[in-house]
Amino acid sequence: MPEDTITLTIDGQDVSANKGATILEAAADQGIDIPVICYHEATTPNGLCRVCVVDVDGGRVLQPACVAACQADSKVETDNERVVRSRRTILEMLNASVILEEAPEIQQMMRDNDADPQRFPHAQRRESELIDDNPFYVRDYAQCVLCWRCVQVCAEDAQFTFALTLNERGHDTAVSTAFDIGMTESPCVFCGQCIGVCPTGALKPKIEWGMEQGLDEDKLRALTRRGRKRDRDRA
C-alpha cells in the first residue's frame, strides 16, 4: 500500500483513503452519502451546519465529516443512533426557524432522517420582510439558514467585494450590509455569485422572482432594467 494512503472503516466497510482526505470525501468514494448544508466545493468549509456529523471511534463529541480528516484505523459510523439524533434534531430545529419550502435538498434530508416538521411548536421564527432594493435580485432572509456561503463568496472566497457581513449573534444572527444600507448604496457589484451558492430560496434573480409572481414580460422588463444612463441623466 502506498505511504500516502491510510485505511479505516466507514459503516463497516474497509476503506482506503488518501492521507488528509476528509471523511466526507472518503465516504463519497464508497457511495456513502453524508448530508451537508453549509458545505460547498467552491467555498472554504466552516463546518458549521453540523448535519454532516459522524461518530468516530465512539468519541465524546461527533465530528463534522466535511472538515475532519480520515484517521488511520479509525471506525467511522455515519448513520448510528447518536448521529441520527443530532442530524434529525438540527433539521427539526432549523425547520422551526426558517422557511424551507424552496430547499428541496433539505426537505429530502428531513425525510431521510425521520425529522418531524412539527417537532418544535410555538417556536420563534426568523421572520424577515422580502428585500427588493435593486434591479438584479431579491433577498428573503426568512428562508436564510445562515450557511455563510453568500458572505464568503462576496469576500475572500471569490469576489473581494465585502458588501455583506453577519450582524447580531446567536439565533438573531442575520446577513446584512453595513448599517443595512440598500444594495445599490453598498459596494455590491451584482456579480451574482451569492445567488449561485445560496442553498435555499433566500437569494433569487429578480426575473425568476417576477415570473413566480406571474408578471408579464413588460412588467419584468420594468422591474429589472433601469434604462440607459444617458436617458436617466436627461430625465
Partner: protein, 553 residues
C-alpha cells in the same frame, strides 16, 4: 453628536485590523455609539471593509450602532443577582424613567439594559454603568436610588484567610502595590534557570488549568515552546464570564503583580516577549488596576524586554473560548475556530500561543519560588495545589475562597463560608455550564477527580448555593436565557438549540407533551454536535436538573 473622531484615529495610525476593538472602545466611550460616518472613517484608517466593522459592532453587546443615552445602566439579572432582587431594582429604575429595558429616555439621558453576569455575585445585585466620555464603572449592591442619584462608592470583596497563598493571607482593601508584593523573586529565580527547567518545574508541580478545561499547564507550555513559528504569544484569558464566577476578578483587583509575574514566567518559559491579557469588558476596575501595575512594573525595570498589553473585551461570553478570544484580539467577530489546529501551534495571528487562565498564571510564581513539591503538598495527587472557588447564593459569607482540594463540599460550606442559610435545596457547580448536586451529594470531596466521578465538575470554580426558597425553574430559565443571549450563532446546534431550549424553559409551569424529550434531544445535540465548549455545555445544567429534579419538568 460630533462625528469627528480624527483625534481618536490618530492614536492608531499605522495599525491594522488588530486595533479595531481598542479603537471602537475609544469611540463608544467618547460618543456613546458608533455612527456610519465613523465606521467609514475607521474603514479607511484600518483598511477594513465597512460591512465587517458593522458586523463586529453588532457582535459585541457593549458596542452600539444606534445612539444611546448619555448614561447607560446595565443591571445583572442572572441567577445570583436575581436572588438579591435584581429584577425589582431594574423594574424600579425603568418605572422611574418610564421606559422598558433596552430603551432610551426621550431626553436622551438614560439607556437601561439587562446584563448577563457581571462577576460581582458576592455583592449582588450588580450593575455596569457608563457615562459619556468617562470610564465605565461596575457597581455592587445597587438600588434604584444608587443607580439614578449618582454613582458613588466602590466595592470590595474580602477574601482569603491567614493560610492563603494565592490570596496572600487574606486581602487588604486596596490593590497590592509593587512594594508590598516584592520584586518578582520567582522571575529572578527562573532567569537563572533554562526555559526547559522552568517548564519541568511546572510539569512536576501537577498544575492543571483553572479555566475549566483542566489541561496540564506544563504540557501546554512545552508544546508552545516546541512549536515552529515566531513571534510566539502568551495570552492570559481574563474573560471570566461564567455566571457565578469572580475569582479571577478578585485576583486581578487585589494581586495584579502576581498575575504579571505569572505572565512573565510563562513568556520566559515558552520563549517570547509578547504577552496579552484579554479581560472582559465588564471588568473596568480590574482593567485599570492591571494597567497601573504594568506601568509600575515596567518603571521598576522588572519586565525587561517583555511587553504586557491589556486588551478589553466588549461583551461576549464566547470570547472566553480561547480561539474566539484570538479572533477578538484580531479585530473580528468572536467566532470560535475549528480545532485542530490547536493554539499551541496555530494561535493568535496564526502563531504558537500559550493561553492560560488568570488563576493558572497566578499559581506559577509560588510554584517557582517554593518549588513543585510544595505545590504537590497541598491538595490531592490529581488536584495539586491551592484552588480558588467563587461562592455565591445562600451561604452566610459569599466570596472567593482558597481551598486545599480534598475538603468535602459540606465541610467547605460549613467551615469556610459560614454555612448554608436556610434549608439547602441544590448546589450548582461550575456555573451556567455546570451541574447540580443534591443535599445528599455534598459530601463529595472538592477535587477534579472526585467531582468528575460524581458526574459533576469544578468547571470555572463557581459554586452557587440555593436553599428551598428558590424557584429552580426560574433559575433554569435564567440560565437558558443566558446561553440564548451568548451563543455566537456560528454552528447550527448551539445557535438553534439555545433558542429552542429557552422557549421550552419559558413554559416549564405548563409544559407541552413531549417537552422533556425535546429538552433531552436539544441538550444531547448541543453537547455532541456543537463546535465549541459553549455549545457542548449549554444544555448541561438543564439535563442535570432533569436527572436530579425530575418533578420540575
Amino acid at each position: 453628536m460630533n462625528d469627528d473622531i480624527t483625534a481618536i484615529c490618530a492614536r492608531y495610525q499605522g495599525r491594522g485590523r488588530e486595533a479595531l476593538l481598542p479603537l471602537l472602545w475609544d469611540v463608544q466611550t467618547a460618543q456613546g455609539s458608533i455612527s456610519p460616518a465613523q465606521v467609514h472613517q475607521i474603514s479607511h484608517m484600518l483598511r477594513i471593509p465597512e460591512a465587517d466593522i458593522f458586523g463586529v459592532i453588532g457582535f459585541y453587546t457593549l458596542f452600539h450602532d444606534q445612539p444611546t443615552g448619555r448614561r447607560i445602566i446595565r443591571v445583572c439579572t442572572d441567577p445570583t443577582c436575581a436572588l438579591a432582587d435584581a429584577d425589582a431594582v431594574l423594574h424600579e429604575v425603568c418605572a422611574q424613567l418610564d421606559i422598558e429595558p433596552g430603551a432610551t429616555t426621550a431626553d436622551g439621558e438614560y439607556t437601561i439594559e439587562h446584563s448577563p453576569c457581571l462577576g460581582l455575585c458576592d455583592v449582588a445585585p450588580a450593575a455596569l454603568v457608563s457615562a459619556r466620555g468617562e470610564p465605565d464603572r461596575a457597581m455592587s449592591q445597587v438600588s434604584a436610588a444608587a443607580l439614578l442619584d449618582g454613582w458613588a462608592g466602590d466595592y470590595f470583596t474580602p477574601a482569603g484567610d491567614e493560610n492563603a497563598v494565592l490570596l496572600d493571607g487574606g486581602l487588604a482593601s486596596a490593590p497590592q502595590s509593587l512594594a508590598d508584593y516584592g520584586d518578582y523573586a520567582g522571575l529572578r529565580k527562573a532567569r537563572a534557570m533554562t526555559s526547559d527547567q522552568v517548564i519541568a518545574e511546572i510539569e512536576a508541580s501537577g498544575l492543571i488549568g483553572r479555566g475549566g478545561a483542566a489541561f496540564p499547564t506544563g504540557l501546554k507550555w512545552k508544546f508552545t515552546r516546541a512549536a515552529a513559528g515566531a513571534p510566539k504569544y502568551v495570552v492570559c484569558n481574563a474573560d471570566e464570564s461564567e455566571p457565578g464566577t469572580f475569582k479571577d476578578r478578585v485576583l486581578m483587583e487585589h494581586r495584579p503583580h502576581l498575575l504579571l509575574e505569572g505572565s512573565a514566567l510563562a513568556a520566559y518559559a515558552v520563549g517570547t516577549d509578547r504577552a496579552i491579557i484579554f479581560i472582559r469588558g465588564e471588568y473596568p476596575k480590574a482593567t485599570q488596576i492591571l494597567q497601573d501595575a504594568i506601568a509600575e512594573a515596567a518603571a521598576a525595570g522588572l519586565l525587561g524586554a517583555l511587553t504586557i498589553e491589556v486588551r478589553r473585551g466588549a461583551g461576549a461570553y464566547i470570547c472566553g473560548e480561547e480561539t474566539a478570544l484570538f479572533e477578538a484580539i484580531e479585530g473580528k467577530r468572536g467566532f470560535p475556530r475549528m480545532k485542530p489546529p490547536y493554539p499551541t501551534t496555530f494561535g493568535l495571528f496564526g502563531k504558537p500561543t500559550a493561553v492560560n487562565n488568570v488563576e493558572t498564571l497566578c499559581a506559577v510564581p509560588p510554584i517557582i519560588t517554593r518549588g513543585a513539591s510544595w505545590f504537590r503538598s497541598v491538595g490531592t495527587a490529581g488536584s495539586a495545589g491551592p484552588k480558588l472557588v467563587s461562592v455565591s447564593g445562600h451561604v452566610a459569607r459569599p466570596g472567593v475562597y482558597e481551598i486545599a482540594p480534598g475538603i468535602s463540599l459540606r465541610d467547605f460550606l460549613e467551615r469556610q463560608c459560614g454555612g448554608v442559610t436556610g434549608q439547602l435545596r441544590a448546589v450548582l457547580m461550575g456555573g451556567a455550564a455546570g451541574t447540580f448536586l443534591l443535599p445528599s451529594e455534598i459530601d463529595v470531596p472538592l477535587t477534579f477527580e472526585d467531582l468528575r466521578e460524581a458526574g459533576s465538575t469544578f468547571g470555572s470554580g463557581a459554586i452557587m448555593v440555593f436553599n428551598d426558597t428558590v424557584d429552580l425553574r426560574d433559575v433554569l430559565l435564567r440560565l437558558g436565557r443566558f446561553f440564548q443571549h451568548e451563543s455566537c450563532g456560528k454552528c447550527f446546534p448551539c445557535q438553534l438549540g439555545t433558542q429552542r431550549q429557552v422557549e421550552i424553559l419559558e413554559r416549564l409551569d405548563a409544559p407541552l407533551p413531549g417537552d422533556r424529550q425535546r429538552l433531552h434531544d436539544i441538550g444531547m445535540t448541543m453537547t455532541e454536535a456543537s463546535i465549541c465548549g459553549l455549545g457542548h455545555t449549554a444544555g448541561m445544567a438543564v439535563m442535570s436538573a432533569m436527572e436530579k429534579f425530575p418533578g420540575l419538568f
